[in-house]
Symmetry: D2
Subunit: 135 residues, 4 copies
């Protein structure tokens, strides 16, 4: 059980949405923030850095959006579904676009293959959170 789940289970207000789905997304957001930062940095050290520019840029964006999303979803007090939905939609979008770019380099750069996988997993958890945040 991750720390995110342990702390969520002790929150006086309880989980704003189904705990298992929420925690999976929170953990995936922080994983993806780290992976994208590390992948963008590894891209910078590759001999073919000139061909990795789009990958670096999207990894940076995706990391920023994942951190914001992970932080917003980590808060249960006075949870606002509209705000959460729009942030999770942005995260889903960023992860989808970044994973597609990383996939293009997966055969050449193992860090891109792994990062694409982390992005896709995060994207999928966003889909599942959005299904619980219907208007």
């Amino acid at each position: 059980m991750t720390y995110a789940r342990q702390i969520l289970d002790t929150h006086p207000a309880g989980s704003a949405i189904e705990a298992e789905v929420l925690v999976a997304c929170i953990d995936a957001c922080f994983d993806c923030a780290q992976s994208c930062t590390a992948c963008g940095d590894a891209d910078l050290a590759e001999d073919d850095v000139a061909t990795m520019i789009r990958c670096i840029r999207l990894c940076l964006d995706c990391s920023d959006v994942c951190i914001a999303t992970g932080q917003v979803l980590s808060r249960q007090t006075e949870f606002d579904s509209d705000l959460a939905r729009s942030v999770v939609q942005a995260c889903l979008q960023a992860c989808g676009i970044c994973s597609q770019e990383c996939d293009r380099h997966a055969a050449h750069h193992e860090h891109c293959r792994i990062c694409a996988e982390v992005c896709r997993r995060c994207e999928q958890t966003c889909v599942e959170v959005l299904a619980l945040l219907v208007v």
Copy 2:
């Protein structure tokens, strides 16, 4: 002329969208990130903190989303309109919800009145950026 504008004007790729609109939004995002952090913190020190809980929470969310948005818009290289649009929409949403809550406390707490103003200005710059990011 802000530093954001000065650096944008020297970017080898130029500005991804109209520079004036873009810079107004970038600067507003960083202003709003700071204001929301400061307002949420001032709320914490108020005697009526128990009535400020929703304001604190939304300020924290809004700050996180504004930082991510300000960072994403600060990048022009391999700019992705779809990613930018979804992030700016989340920012518009966060600023709108946060300004409404701050407005409720504006008569009692001057920091909420100011923060609501900063949020609304940021929200408005997001509207203007979105108008340039039409599908």
Copy 3:
């Protein structure tokens, strides 16, 4: 094996310092960023919120510092030991101060007990990283 370790092992420049120690600190920083955000938010929902003000504030600070530290340590390309050392020292300080405050509430609030543990673990990994970043 965490994603942080998997991507690190495929970095063209290798790990700037011993991989096991580095990854433990990176993972602990992101865990601690999330825990502190979640604990500060849980504090906000407690009936005794007025007694939790210092805990909330320090959790917010600790989360911010842990994110910066986790991001900086996730980068191996052109690693700068002086920069890394000063950031890790700030993280060690923030985690130490926050864990002490959370400990004061551990008997009453289980989220504080857990968060104090996560902070201490992060603090310890910072100590171990600093030992490898001697001047």
Copy 4:
């Protein structure tokens, strides 16, 4: 008068340290976070990107540290001098190292010249804050 100063002047606890010095540092931190993100991104679009790797990496680090520092200093409630000092020291270090690297490219890249200036200004405000946070 910046929004940071306006909100600070309405904080129920007042400014933790002399307001003018504090606000100068807060504003400089957010300026520097934005400048470093924008400069690192402009580096990515330069023809000589392969010679800008160290500059990109340090800009990313400096942006992360400046955001954390700007956020921590924006909070006056239960201000902890030890925590603030260690974060500001990290910021001073990051800005100093980043400005030196940007200076190396200032003759070729105007964005590096501007970013070095912003970093140095932030570094200087950190020095002034530290002088008020003596042990």
